[in-house]
């Protein structure tokens, strides 16, 4: 191959990776340099420039893409000035998608009469939706930020970086103490969960209302069939809670793993509480119970009112559990991601 042809091909290839605006000028410059170098080498070696000489020279000069890139400013999908904002947006996206999936999963279960298999499948489905939701959101965010990156003038980008550098040490947050735990509350939690497992699994036939009648205590069963269907899931929850406490004790404090476990447990609690809240009542008066009410000289209306009252009470308790767990779940995430994002974000 002729040396000139090789040079032409090389310069054309470099040009393919350059913006049209400066292409011709840069190509001419590169050609000038290469031809000067080639001429000098041919003189030193006392021979005409040949294909080998050109190949060696071009290899020294570098691959066309790299040579073209050296003429251009750094190309970013999301540049340094926007990257902190991008990260914050990703965190918020994850939180929003998580909440939406939680709610939609719970609602999907509400429409049917769920059994344990349905719940398991719904959770798996929810996880799948979470992953696909996050990936889709990530793609959309990347495109959005790429557009902003391309549109933002360079002086504005520099201003954003400068704003990040104008920080006041006095405004820094006090570092949180190491993730310690309260031994007393962990022990209490273990005991309470253990008691719950024992009471609701071994002594469940003694869980109900008691009244003193005719010189003795009378037991009134109130738990419904629906409650019994939730019992395995409740037992699992109490068992996992105990396991979490042991993990924390063993590790000497809260670690990322136990924190993650706690979040998963909170999500499980929320889903279960939601199911129990919206599903069939956990308490109901069976025929046996109504017969006992008759024995206590209480009419059916009173019995119905008592049943409604108990149902309302259980739903109130479940609502409180739901809200408290939701706040426990969201609060650290809010503090960690959204609050710090709002504090750190300079104005665009």
């Amino acid at each position: 191959m002729q040396p000139k042809e090789l040079l032409d091909r090389y310069i054309a290839e470099v040009g393919n990776h350059l913006p049209e605006k400066h292409r011709s000028d840069i190509q001419q410059e590169i050609r000038s340099l290469l031809e000067d170098t080639l001429e000098d080498r041919a003189q030193k070696e006392g021979r005409q420039a040949d294909e080998d000489m050109v190949v060696n020279l071009l290899k020294e000069y570098g691959p066309p893409q790299r040579v073209a890139a050296s003429y251009l400013p750094p190309q970013y999908l999301v540049g340094p000035s926007l990257y902190p904002h991008f990260l914050n947006a990703v965190r918020i996206l994850f939180l929003v998608v998580l909440i939406v999936i939680l709610v939609t999963t719970a609602l999907s279960l509400v429409r049917t009469d769920p059994n344990p298999t349905d719940v398991g499948l719904a959770i798996l489905d929810g996880l799948g939706n979470l992953i696909s939701g996050v990936l889709t959101g990530l793609g959309a965010l990347s495109i959005a930020f790429w557009i902003i990156q391309r549109s933002l003038p360079e002086n504005k980008q520099r201003a954003i970086i400068k704003e990040l550098e104008d920080w006041d040490p006095r405004k820094l947050e006090i570092p949180a103490p190491p993730e310690s735990f309260k031994l007393g509350s962990l022990i209490a939690e273990i005991i309470v969960n253990l008691l719950a497992i024992i009471i609701f699994n071994v002594y469940i036939n003694h869980v109900g209302l008691y009244t003193f009648f005719d010189g003795k205590w009378l037991f009134i069963p109130v738990l419904s069939a629906a409650f019994y269907s939730y019992l395995p899931w409740l037992t699992l929850l109490w068992t996992l809670s105990i396991f979490q406490c042991f993990l924390v004790l063993r590790q000497g404090g809260w670690q990322p793993l136990t924190r993650g476990f706690a979040v998963a447990l909170d999500i499980y609690t929320i889903l279960l509480a939601l199911l129990m809240l919206i599903g069939k009542p956990l308490v109901s008066f069976s025929a046996e119970t109504l017969a006992l009410f008759e024995k206590l000289n209480l009419d059916t209306i009173t019995a119905a009112q008592a049943e409604s009252g108990l149902v309302l009470l259980t739903r109130m308790i479940l609502t409180i559990i739901l809200v408290v767990t939701l706040v426990e779940l969201v609060q650290p995430l809010y503090r960690k991601f959204i609050k710090s994002a709002l504090l750190e974000s300079p104005k665009l």
Binding site: Q28, S32, E35, Y61, G62, Y71
Partner: protein, 108 residues
């Protein structure tokens, strides 16, 4: 990464830091790319062929050099030279370089 490779990388970093001053010092008179490269190489400072022109363009974009194409040479060549801003900056850079070398010498 072995010791020689590490040394090579660090030496490259050192040279990179001095390159702008070296290039500007030679552009007090008009030069084209290859002549500049040769002058630097003859003085012991090899500059990568793919580094020189992007550097010259950056300096020109920063308003320190002026350039012009000459077609009366054996081949079209772009000549570069410092403008007034570049000359002022070069003089300041020389001062900074002296301070820096003194500092480093004291440290070493």
């Amino acid at each position: 990464m072995d010791e020689n490779q590490t040394l090579e990388n660090f030496v490259l970093e050192l040279r990179r830091g001095a390159l702008i001053l070296a290039v500007m010092s030679q552009l007090q008179s008009e030069q084209y790319g290859y002549s500049l490269m040769k002058t630097l190489a003859d003085n012991g400072l090899e500059i990568d062929q793919g580094t020189l022109y992007p550097l010259l363009r950056r300096l020109e974009a920063q308003g320190l050099l002026v350039s012009s194409w000459r077609i009366d040479d054996p081949r079209p060549r772009r000549y570069y030279t410092l403008n007034d801003n570049g000359k002022r900056l070069l003089s300041k850079l020389k001062e900074e370089w002296k301070k820096l070398t003194n500092t480093i010498d004291n440290l070493l």
